[in-house]
């Protein structure tokens, strides 16, 4: 890998800016995403920062089964993001539709609409799982790591305060 590529990869892995978009979720995954960013779990120690606009974001965190109302908006937000961009489906609904599968107003998961880079299951996905998923996604950006993604650094178990 050339030096420039190595520097770009290093920068990309160390400062992934995320945008959170609720695509029809019940709020549970959304508050767990925020919980993952706050002191107990502290996703920010990996350089992750929550941004307000898709134009600043590298990673789109989606929660929810994608309602028909939100579908066009989701695509529009994705198109506004700069390349390279990654979509993370957080929660069982975002992965597969979950409990809302078959409801008349929902698609069954983010991957019906957008290419998904990482799936984080759980109802809701716990902050520890979100941490793990994001760290794995970042590790997979390095071509050297790609085939053995399961050896990606594990998020340490958050200690329970006494």
């Amino acid at each position: 890998m050339s030096l420039v590529k190595r520097v770009v990869l290093w920068a990309r892995q160390k400062s992934p800016w995320v945008l959170h978009f609720n695509t029809g979720a019940c709020n549970a995954c959304d508050i767990e995403i925020i919980a993952a960013l706050t002191p107990r779990y502290d996703l920010e120690r990996f350089g992750v920062q929550l941004k307000g606009t898709p134009r600043h974001a590298d990673v789109l965190l989606c929660s929810g089964p994608v309602t028909h109302q939100i579908k066009d908006r989701l695509v529009r937000i994705y198109e506004q993001m700069a390349e390279p961009k990654f979509v993370v489906a957080i929660g069982t609904c975002a992965c597969s539709g979950g409990v809302f599968q078959g409801c008349y107003n929902v698609e069954s998961g983010i991957d019906q609409v957008l290419p998904v880079a990482a799936y984080i299951p759980g109802c809701p996905a716990s902050p520890a799982a979100i941490l793990d998923g994001v760290v794995k996604l970042l590790a997979s950006l390095d071509p050297a790591n790609a085939p053995k993604a399961e050896e990606a650094p594990k998020a340490e178990d958050p200690a329970v305060p006494a």
């Binding site: 959170h20 978009f21 609720n22 695509t23 029809g24 979720a25 019940c26 709020n27 549970a28 995954c29 959304d30 508050i31 767990e32 925020i34 919980a35 706050t38 002191p39 107990r40 941004k51 307000g52 606009t53 898709p54 929810g64 089964p65 309602t67 109302q69 939100i70 908006r73 937000i77 409990v99 809302f100 078959g102 409801c103 008349y104 107003n105 929902v106 109802c123 809701p124 716990s126 329970v160 305060p161």
Partner: protein
């Protein structure tokens, strides 16, 4: 911009202020908001219809996922309504366990709100502090129910998990830690001049308007409307647990902060009282799979206000109709009133101050028959239709004041 010229600014559905998709169309004159139209429905998933296609037991878990913050409220409200139709009652121990989980949920919801409110006024330290402390109550909920959110503790006729003596001791220890921290938040809310000055006289809702707009929960109680279902129409174990209904007469966002912080302190006392007086006995009675024909209305004081579930059974395993009226739907009317003639910069905190939950609220749907004649009713016609329908059924609404108007259609 020239004097007198107004401009329309759309906000949302994706926007940095709130975590949920909702859209506001603001008509601004300079920095002043002239008119605000709220557009809901981005989170509408069709849960009520899905309930009709699932059995009652599946319905509990679906209803729980109406909202991830007040999931116990919705599940309990639904379960209570169904239990009323069936004619069974959960044993006292189950009622107490439900109450304890309900109050823990209120604590987690109010701490969450406190952080969000801090974030909206640029006080991110408060967000980080209160969310760190919120993890204590999340641990407690995980300990009691097995899940941090969407607890799945309710079932028809009782609860699914008991509280052991060790868990009880654990709850007491952690509640003490939480109470210490909450005292600190009370001092922040009553002494921190920057915060007080930012919140005073913002989002003013007079008591008369609160009643007229049908505001519920802390939004109403902060405007001196003394209204709390836990006391007015006791359910679960609330009839046996002493507590104060916290009200404030500030009518503004500051008052809503005081009410929520005050309710936190009350909740700690209520949980302690409930644990000390936890009755012995079974945690559930057997409930039939089929629910007889009949209808019932469940009422529940969720952290955001009164939650109402209407359930109609038809003698089968699946409900005939389920209708949910979430507290935010009642409060969202008041937001437009609070923001009239206010500054654009107040929008995030005023909207956040009702603790909106749009995944709860997005229940509306429009049905158009492809084969039949279609008609569009205007607000006045719809209102007239409603009045006449009720008059035919013996209720006269025509004497109510005529001031409820929806914004003009564009």
């Amino acid at each position: 911009m020239f004097e007198g010229e107004s401009v329309q600014v759309p906000v949302g559905p994706q926007h940095p202020a709130l975590k949920e998709p909702t859209s506001f169309m603001l008509t601004l004159q300079g920095e002043k908001i002239l008119q605000i139209a709220v557009r809901l429905g981005y989170n509408h998933r069709g849960i009520e219809k899905a309930c009709e296609e699932r059995t009652y037991v599946q319905g509990i878990y679906l209803i729980e996922r109406i909202c991830g913050i007040c999931s116990h409220s919705h599940a309990t409200c639904f379960v209570q309504a169904v239990e009323e139709i069936v004619g069974i009652q959960a044993p006292p121990r189950a009622q107490y366990i439900r109450t304890i989980v309900a109050e823990l949920e209120r604590i987690h919801s109010h701490l969450l709100w406190l952080g969000v409110a801090g974030h909206e006024v640029g006080f991110d330290t408060l967000l980080m502090y209160s969310w760190r402390d919120r993890e204590i109550v999340m641990d407690l909920l995980a300990l009691l129910t097995g899940n941090r959110v969407n607890y799945g503790i309710n079932t028809f006729g009782g609860v699914r998990r008991d509280i052991s003596p060790e868990q009880k001791a654990d709850i007491f220890t952690r509640l003490n830690a939480l109470e210490e921290r909450t005292k600190y938040y009370v001092s922040v809310a009553t002494q921190e001049t920057t915060l007080i000055n930012r919140l005073r006289n913002v989002g003013v809702l007079s008591p008369a308007d609160a009643v007229r707009m049908g505001a519920v929960g802390p939004t109403a109680r902060a405007s001196s409307v003394d209204r709390d279902i836990r006391r007015d129409d006791p359910y679960l174990a609330y009839g046996e647990i002493p507590f104060k209904v916290i009200t404030a007469d500030c009518n503004d966002v500051y008052g809503r902060t005081l009410v929520r912080v005050g309710e936190l302190m009350e909740s700690y006392k209520m949980i302690r009282h409930a644990l000390e007086h936890l009755p012995d006995g079974p945690i559930a009675v057997k409930a039939p799979r089929k629910v007889p024909a009949g209808e019932a209305l469940g009422r529940y004081e969720a952290p955001r206000g009164e939650d109402v579930h209407y359930v109609r059974g038809n003698g089968t395993e699946k409900p005939d109709r389920v209708k949910v009226r979430a507290p935010t739907l009642a409060n969202v009317q008041a937001v437009a009133k609070m923001l009239e003639d206010r500054y654009l910069a107040d929008l995030p905190i005023v909207v956040a101050a009702i603790d909106p939950c749009f995944s709860c609220t997005d229940r509306l749907t429009e049905v158009r028959r492809a084969d039949g004649p279609s008609s569009v009713l205007h607000w006045e016609q719809l209102r007239q239709y409603g009045i006449e329908w009720h008059r035919r059924h013996g209720i006269d609404f025509s004497k109510l004041n005529n001031s409820f108007r929806c914004p003009e259609d564009h």
